[in-house]
Structures are given as structure tokens and as C-alpha cells.
Symmetry: C2
Subunit: 431 residues, 2 copies
């Protein structure tokens, strides 16, 4: 089944696709050389938006879920990549402990965990799921709608090691983004590999740092492709100490929204783009209970603040002001039937192992699709392959478009690698 792409198949994005395809050997070599110097995140997923005139990552997840949306055709790729990842990190490993999110009530998340366990089992490891949720006090079996089941076990923390009953893992794989902070039970584990590292969690991560790193790699890829890096890079600004519900930091927010909208407007003018520019306002780390806001004019901000105040209700004093990312809004012109769609690219180690379209019938082309009501359509291609097909007319080939998405996804992964190096608390400084 080929996702039915209704995206306009003309315009600059096809020129970009053609350049990307023509430059395939150069692009792959560039990545190979980058991976000689930098370590890819253990796994990642990247939300990509295709505006028809530009293509950009908008979110890079270093603790991806949604593995259940990968098709069976793509599983062997994930398994092979997992083998490569394990071999590189800990070839002597027998046991892998996966630490899931604490809140596992969501059936979709359970299915993703089951798939992840399956992938690493197929790659040749004994895999158990160790919960750090204080509510999980004993082994808990949860059954999935398809009859599959997963077993959560409470973790057991020794002085220097973490495990579950009768299971001492060599490697601990985090599948929780640590939004609520790093729990003590995960700290000071020096004898086991903890992957991704703790500083990949939202306690340390900042979206602005990620997109700063992305800007750098996008510039270099732009040079390699001979294109304006803006075509693959979302612009951004940031503000410190903002609390919309309390009306704190609104001057900075207002002026930065103006600045960014101005920049986008100039780019739109340069390329003759008739769309209305917009920006997306989000917290610089985690969510802090604040949604993602679409803003088309700084004048909308007072109303949004009022709205946030009402929503926060009595709890409005609870949230401390926090850093805010103001990101260029990238339209999505991709559609499946009537629903707006955005591709999500999955990677394991340095390899693209699959992806799907996140679709949302109730959302607009300038809105966040990662919301209740979203649905998922696997990127399963004609001939079940995501390999590019050189020679096919630009825009006409799903595999070719997916190759381009995979390049952008890998650029974002590379940016994450730079980001993790820059924020590593244990990095050795050589200069």
C-alpha cells in the first residue's frame, strides 16, 4: 500500500528532491565522514514538515515511541541496525533492560514497547522491561489488543547497578524522556551503559540548542547541495523567563515573534511564496503543561495569554517562568485523503529504519499534528522498498521523496549528536 500523496508535485520541493537524488553519493559520503567524528544517538525519530517550497525537521525525539507504526517490511532493517548499534557499544552484551515511561496506560505506547522489545530480542539480546514507576511494585503483565502481552518488572537498584529480579543487564535503554527530571534511581550508574545518556533528557536538553546545531549542519548540507539552507532549516528565536498564563515576559515574546515573522516574510518575498507566515511558540524544554501555539501576528499574544490564564485556572501560580522557543512555522502540504499529514522518520544508530505519516483530520496545515485524534499510516512503499529510484520524475516517486525525508531526518539526528556532545557533563575538554 502506497500512501496516497496529494501534495502538489510541482515547485521548489521537486528541485530540492532532484538535487538530493543527484547528490546521493556525495550526501552518503558526507554522512560517513561525519560519523567518523561524531556518535549517532542510539535511536531517534524526527518530525518533518514538507511545505511544498521547503522541508524541515520540527521536532527530534531521542526517546522515540511509535515503533509499532513501523511495518513488518521495515522490521528487518530495524533489527539489522540494532545489531550494528549493539555491536558498536557493547558486543559482549547479553541482557538489555528497557526503562519505559512511567505512565503506560496508553495502549499505543504498550504496543510500541512490545515492538521495541521484539526488535532487540531479534537482534540477539535478552530484553526485559524495568519500570521506575513507584506504582509498579510487582511484576505486571499487560495484554495488548492484538493478544500480545508485555511484562513490566519493578527495577532493583543496587549500589552501582540497576536491574530487575534475576536479571543484571549490561546496557540500560531509556525509553522515557525524563521530562519530570532525572530520578535518583538512574543516577550514579557507572558500571552499566545508560543509553541515551541522561543529558539527552529534557532536564538538560534545550530545543534552541538542538536547532542551533541543526542550523550548522543545514548550512553545510546546503553548501554541498548548492541550495539556500533555509530550504531545509526552520528559523527560530528564543526568550527567557516567559509565563504566558501569568503574562510574564510578554515584551520579549512579542518582539521576537515580530522579528521572526519579519525574517520569514522576507524569505517568502524572495521566493515569491504567497502563504501567510506564522511562527510556533513552544517551551524550550519539555512541555511544562503548555501546548504548542501557532501565532500569525504578535497582536494575537494578549488573547493567547488570557486564554492560557483561563486554562491554567487556580494552578497558574504553580509554573515558574521558563525559556520559550519561537520557531518558524512550516506548513505541511502533505495530505492523505482529507487529513493533513506529516512524515516521521525513525532511525536506529546511523540508519533510517522506517517511518510513517502522522495524520490528523481535525487539524490545519499550520497546526501541530501530535495531538489526540492523530492517526498513523506506515510509510510502506510500492514494491515495499524505501530505496530511491533514480530516473523517476521528481515529485512522482514516494521512495524518492522518502529518501529526501531520510536525509533531513539524519541531519536532525546529526544535530542531536552535536548537541549531546556540547552538553555532555563528562566531556573532556582538550583545548
Amino acid at each position: 500500500m502506497v500512501p496516497h500523496l496529494v501534495t502538489a508535485l510541482t515547485g521548489p520541493i521537486n528541485e530540492l528532491e532532484q538535487r538530493v537524488l543527484d547528490s546521493m553519493p556525495a550526501i552518503e559520503r558526507w554522512f560517513r565522514l561525519e560519523w567518523m567524528e561524531h556518535t549517532p544517538p542510539f535511536y531517534s525519530s524526527v518530525d518533518v514538515r514538507n511545505a511544498g517550497f521547503k522541508l524541515a525537521p520540527v521536532d527530534t525525539n531521542l526517546f522515540p515511541n511509535g515503533w509499532n507504526h513501523l511495518t513488518p517490511e521495515m522490521l528487518p532493517l530495524a533489527v539489522q541496525a540494532a545489531m550494528a548499534a549493539i555491536e558498536k557499544i557493547c558486543p559482549e552484551a547479553r541482557n538489555l533492560l528497557v526503562i519505559p515511561e512511567n505512565n503506560v496506560a496508553n495502549t499505543g505506547y504498550l504496543a510500541s514497547l512490545a515492538q521495541l522489545q521484539r526488535i532487540f530480542h531479534m537482534a540477539g539480546l535478552n530484553v526485559r522491561l524495568g519500570s521506575i514507576d513507584p506504582a509498579i511494585k510487582k511484576t505486571t503483565v499487560m495484554t495488548l489488543p492484538d493478544g500480545d502481552s508485555i511484562t513490566l518488572e519493578p527495577v532493583i537498584r543496587g549500589k552501582r547497578r540497576l536491574g530487575v529480579k534475576d536479571f543484571d543487564p549490561c546496557t540500560i535503554l531509556l525509553n522515557t524522556d525524563l521530562s519530570a527530571g532525572v530520578p535518583g534511581i538512574l543516577e550514579e550508574i557507572y558500571e552499566q551503559y545508560v543509553l541515551p545518556p541522561l543529558h539527552a533528557g529534557w532536564t538538560t536538553r534545550r530545543k534552541s540548542t538542538h536547532f542551533k546545531c541543526y542550523e550548522e549542519v543545514a548550512k553545510r548540507m546546503g553548501k554541498l547541495l548548492g541550495i539556500d539552507p533555509w530550504l531545509i532549516n526552520p528559523l527560530f528565536e528564543k526568550c527567557g523567563e516567559v509565563n504566558l498564563a501569568q503574562g510574564v515576559g510578554m515584551e520579549c515574546l512579542s518582539s521576537q515573534v515580530d522579528v521572526l515573522l519579519g525574517k520569514i516574510r522576507r524569505k517568502y518575498k524572495e521566493y515569491g511564496i504567497k502563504e501567510k507566515p506564522f511562527v510556533v511558540v513552544k517551551t524550550d524544554n519539555g512541555t511544562h503543561g503548555m501546548g504548542i501555539l501557532t501565532v500569525r501576528d504578535a497582536k494575537e499574544l494578549p488573547a493567547l495569554s488570557l486564554n492560557a490564564k483561563e486554562q491554567a485556572g487556580g494552578a497558574r501560580g504553580a509554573q515558574a517562568p521558563h525559556d520559550i522557543l519561537i520557531q518558524e512555522g512550516v506548513l505541511t502540504k502533505e495530505r492523505m485523503n482529507d487529513a493533513v499529514a506529516e512524515p516521521v522518520v525513525y532511525m536506529m544508530d546511523r540508519y533510517v529504519v522506517g517511518g510513517f505519516y502522522r495524520i490528523h483530520a481535525g487539524r490545519g496545515i499550520d497546526e501541530d499534528l501530535s495531538a489526540p485524534g492523530a492517526d498513523f499510516v506506515p510509510l510502506a512503499f510500492e514494491h515495499s522498498t524505501h530505496l530511491p529510484q533514480p530516473g523517476v520524475r521528481p515529485g512522482a516517486s514516494a521512495p524518492n521523496r522518502f529518501y529526501m525525508y531520510g536525509v533531513v531526518g539524519r541531519l536532525a539526528m546529526l544535530a542531536a549528536s552535536y548537541e549531546l556532545e556540547a552538553t555532555d557533563p563528562e566531556a573532556e575538554v582538550y583545548d
Copy 2:
């Protein structure tokens, strides 16, 4: 499409399958540790025979063709493995030169070359085909039945490098088994990677060396699985200086056939196997124009010698006596409809990337299927995946059986790695 396996689904092979599946994490770890010490061949294919009571490799090809028989579903796996292989050997590579067999009249071989070129192009290299055939004096375009075409260019040899016009490769990939000896044009290339190395050709390789190495790895895997290694290992003997057509060396041949048949008979007795033992007689390197002979009794040898004499005709004096491998014959109990089938496992670097069944309606269960009239059915599995399915009844799952074939294929590949180390003319001796 699932190959319709008519193989008896009872008996010892299912017990083996169960042990292999149960030991998956241990097996994968064992391979990981092996690959820390040994270098896998760049690519390989292994013919496997499943007798229902034992499963063994009978031929390991280090210059595999037949890539065209891999399904599109399997291509991404091959591409990912190719990326891993390139990254390890020459990450800085831009250009790859593939040296095909000299005789490319065979359409199937051309299709295999096209596929190989496609795989390495997808992996991000500029790939050209450089012929060392003196008959190819200029760029030659050959069209395939499916409309695809491949372009052969005569190689250009510089003092230290090999290339084609305006193309200086970093790596030279041999897809010719050098049966006729190593041509001077491939010698003394010190500035480029030549893969596989020249000593992987039949000038240096000996099947008996390969199966001696295989015996070693099979013993260790047998220990890991807790099984008699004979269940995965074909016994063999050898003779030097034999020429069947000239009747030279017949005493050795006759006595070794007797010895080996005796050994097999004892094993059959031990396991209560009612089949008639047989051995396969083949040249220890290349083919020397001699086919593969099935021998059930040493008494058959004089008749076979006479037959060879007649076939050789006037040319009988041309062939010097050569070494002979006498290998335990492994029945194939696999069938597709009425045709006898044997699986062929394809590997790139350390990864199993696919496979197919070689079937031959005109041959018996104890005969070589690699003969004119053979057909190929891709190992495309239900749900398009070759991943094992733990929990499924032994013998009932094609993916589970293929996992077992992949283990045996990788054992043979590992044996080839040992073999190439042992025969490396440039090996440094540390003791």
C-alpha cells in the same frame, strides 16, 4: 508469497530449529564476539542443504552472483549492510569499481551485476563496471530483458592503480572468482582496496581448507547449542593428484570414498537414519572442467572414470591431475511442488541480507542443483519478513527455518574468514 515448503516437518531438524531459536541471544552474542576478532568476507553466498535430519553448508561463494534473485523487500537490507561494509573499510570512498566475470553473455549474470551496481549506488557510491576481459575493448552497453541496461568499460591499468576512463576508484570489488588464475592486471595494486582479496580466488582457495575451518566453527557452535556438530557439519576427505579421465589417483579416491561412506554409515546408524549414504566428489579448487559426482559406492568409480574419459575425448591429456574433495553427501528434503530445492543464503559484511531457493525439477535429492535448468524462488516470507517468530511450533514457520539457515550461512562465512586469515600471503606472524 511464501515458498511452499513440502519438507517433512518432523524429526531431528525441528529439534535443531528449536535449539537454535531458544539460543538466539547466545548465538548472536557469539557471532558478535567472533567479529571482534575476525573480519567477515565483504560479501558471500552459501548453499545450504537440509536433509531433514541434518543441515549443512555445501558451498561457500566469496564472489557471489545471483543478486537479482533477491526480492525488492530484501534490497533495503542489502543496502544498509553495504553502507556498514563501506563505512568500515573506506568511509572516505566516493567511487567503486566492480570487476565482473569475463564471460558476461549470461543474461542472469548481467541482471545480478545490475542489482549489485544498484545496491552500492543506493549505499551512496558512484559505481562503474570495469571489465578485464581482453575482448571488451571499448565501452559496451548491454540491455537486459527488463529494459535495464548495464555499461561495461575496459579497465585502465596505471602503474599503481586500476580504473576506467575518468574514474579513479578508491575500492575495487571483484565479482569474478579468478578460476583461471589471477590476471597480472589485478596484481600489485597497493593504493586501492581490492575486495575480496586476491587470495579469496580459486588460485589460492581450497574447499578442503574451507571445510576444515568450518568443522572448527561447527564444533564450537555445536557445543554452544548442546548438539552433535555432525548435525550441521558435512564430513569430508581429500585426495591429491587425481585425474578421473586419465584414471590417475584412483586408489586413493576409492579408499577415501570407502572411508567416508563408512563414517557416514556409522552416523546414520547412530541416528537411526534409513537413507542410503552417498558422497560427492569435486575438485578441491574451482572446477577444472569436472562436474560434481554423486557416488554411493566406491565400486562405481571405474565406470565414472570411463565416463569421464569419454566426455574428455581428445582433451583428456590437457588436464593435470589435481586435488579432490570427497564430501559427505547431504540430501535435500526441501521441495517446491515437484522440484528439489536448496536454500542459498546471501550475506553482505556480517549480515544476512536475503536468500532464495534454488530449485531443479530434473534433479534428484542427492544431486547438485547448480546446473543448467535450475530455477530460483526468492525466500520471500509471509509478512515479508525473515525475522524469526519465537513461540511458533518448530518446523511450521518459514521465518524460523530461515533464521536457522542464516545461522548456518553465517557459520560458513565465519569459516571463510578463518580460511582467508590462514591463507593471507601478507599476514603478519606474531609468534
